[in-house]
Subunit: 389 residues, 2 copies
């Protein structure tokens, strides 16, 4: 029999990670923080947001307000992000005051300004789609040089297909230019498929990289992720992983870096970058020894990184998009009875048609079988039937 002394020693002095934003990425990061036993707070715009529903350390405030950001940072040992929308000058201000901001404003800029990202990556000799600023129809026409379609992109602020327009001709480009936002032009890449790779880098400069995955997009929204990317040539796999580690190093990323790639007959082109947990890494919750959420926490806390090795030969993640009927919970019973081994993750978000409200992961041996199972579950959660994905 063991008697505990009456007076405990003081609680371990664990650091507090503050995440700006309270979407599903912050929600899933909170699960990892709870496991690691580190403090976790989110800066939410509203109490009903995905992470704010579940995180005890939720502070309400506006991420665009220097005062709100400073007040939030005062209770945290390190600041990181659920999204890339915090103005860079605010972050630089925090940094000047000595707040550890990870990734730092200098790195994050390359996710906030796609033109700066393209210029930087091409400057490093990294293959990207051909691009140019697109301030006027004349510039777009000169860029196209008679070859359409041309892709117009908002230089900042886009997500889930918002802020990207594939223009079949000058008339369509003119309509997009009429929005009056900062745009850039890119060549339309006739890729074979899309790949993604998530790496982590710590202030100590340790790097770790997950297996390269194939991503399936529809209407600009990621629908499905297959890990590892089926049939990827070993040389190309290594090239993609080295690319992610190189970009993380050259851009000075601390935390996660997700690199979205086009695979073409001749090689790999960088499409987008993100410096936070990423939709293409959700499969790691069950499919890797260390989830991307725990990895992000380890990286921003400058702890040794966790193993990115897979727990099984394959994992497939399928996003659950909102359908016409908001009562998703009523459909759990069918999905769980039909497949007791599929993992359902729901984000507590209001159902908007087409919006990501959850995801489903299946882990095992055969990616085709796993994909069927995850798609069926996700489709049923969306529509109440299995053929409407």
């Amino acid at each position: 029999m063991t008697e505990y002394p009456e007076t405990p020693r003081s609680a371990p002095a664990s650091p507090v990670v503050g995440m700006v934003g309270a979407g599903q990425l912050a929600r899933m990061t909170s699960q990892a923080a709870t496991g690691l036993g580190v403090g976790f707070r989110v800066l939410a715009e509203a109490a009903g947001e995905s992470a704010a529903q579940v995180v005890a350390g939720t502070q309400l405030g506006d991420y665009r307000s220097p005062d709100d950001l400073r007040a939030f940072a005062a209770g945290c040992d390190v600041i990181t992000f659920d999204h890339e929308h915090v103005p860079g000058d605010q972050l630089a201000g925090l940094e000047r005051e000595g707040v550890p901001v990870r990734p730092g404003s200098a790195a994050l800029r390359f996710t906030q300004d796609k033109l700066a990202m393209r210029e930087r990556l091409t400057g490093l000799g990294i293959a990207c789609p051909r691009f140019a600023p697109a301030g006027s129809l004349a510039e777009v026409a000169a860029f196209a040089d008679g070859t359409w379609p041309v892709v117009l992109k908002a230089v900042s602020g886009g997500y889930d297909g918002k802020g990207v327009w594939v223009c079949a001709n000058a008339a369509e480009a003119k309509d997009v230019l009429a929005h009056g936002i900062d745009l850039m032009a890119e060549e339309f890449v006739a890729f074979d498929r899309e790949l993604a790779v998530v790496a982590a880098r710590s202030p100590h400069r340790q790097g770790a990289v997950y297996p390269v995955v194939e991503t399936v997009q529809r209407d600009g929204i990621c629908r499905e992720v297959i890990a590892p990317a089926p049939g990827l040539a070993p040389g190309r796999r290594a090239a993609a992983q080295q690319l992610a580690l190189l970009i993380a190093k050259q851009l000075g990323v601390t935390g996660l870096l997700a690199v979205e790639l086009f695979e073409t007959g001749t090689g790999l082109l960088v499409n987008e970058l993100a410096m936070r947990p990423h939709n293409t890494g959700h499969w790691t919750i069950e499919g890797a020894r260390t989830s991307q959420f725990e990895q992000h926490l380890r990286a921003v806390l400058d702890l040794p990184l966790g193993s990115p090795a897979m727990t099984a030969p394959a994992a497939v993640m399928v996003n659950v998009l909102g359908g016409d009927d908001a009562d998703v919970y009523d459909r759990y019973i069918h999905v769980m009875a039909a497949d007791p081994a599929v993992k359902v993750h729901m984000y507590g978000k209001p159902v908007r048609p087409g919006r990501k409200i959850g995801h489903v992961t299946a882990v095992g041996d055969d990616p085709a079988e796993l994909g069927d199972r995850a798609r069926r579950a996700a489709s049923y959660l969306r529509w109440g039937k299995e053929d409407g994905s």
Copy 2:
């Protein structure tokens, strides 16, 4: 490009699970609730408790107070438990008011009254250690009938070795009786090893059972769990699993049931029961398709149960006990650098020497190698060295 309609449909109407108690079991259950997208609240005695630190839906109150319990239940769709200390008449009162209490008071009684448990199980023909009420030294002496040691147990309220005394002779028994608490006597079982099995049962009467594990106890505290139990004869494995399902059914358990067993040369004897997530099931977080915490939520919500299949051939969990130095976080860096694939779970609890403050799990192929790795990590987290476990 996808435009979201401006007005979202209302948030899905997910049920709210209320867990009475805010220890590490509630903390880990909260992680599963966040993943499933169901509401989760805890009734905590103090804001600093393990689960209260992280759960947004924390309500402070006394689980012995009918008013506090009723107020807590008013915001929940189902009530369940982190511990078995809620007085049965309070629970029966909630049930009379129509609150779904899972497990119900009639089942939970058998974890609150060990004498009732022994009588009920032996009535069902289930093998238990020989036992008797122990109201006086004469009763203990008559039970011993000259054969010592005899085990004296508190009829209710024991945990982690508290409330269990192995008495080598009548003089020692007399000292224990002097405590003035309700006691029972049990034969001292010279077991070969200890096993445990966790089952789940839903109100719909669906059952699911995890692989049988071996548990290693020291000073009455679980130190280590090996899944599956090495070298367990298939017939005995099946018997243990059937036993758990049978007890869950016969006692009307809804939620999880953990059965702790003695394995002897002649068979299995039931040692203890618990009706909640259990230390012997922590390995399921990484080692099974469905963690015991998610399984408990599914069961109390009457959702179809998840697959209890293992994700790998073996998993070993080692508890982290408090040591002399409270600064556990300072030791993460070594543990994580030494073994990037071991999973560290810390509970945010004040460090008391000998108290469970976290656990470490290793998943893979060889239980001996996994045990070495998990023990080294747990020992280092406790002592700052690897040989002091």
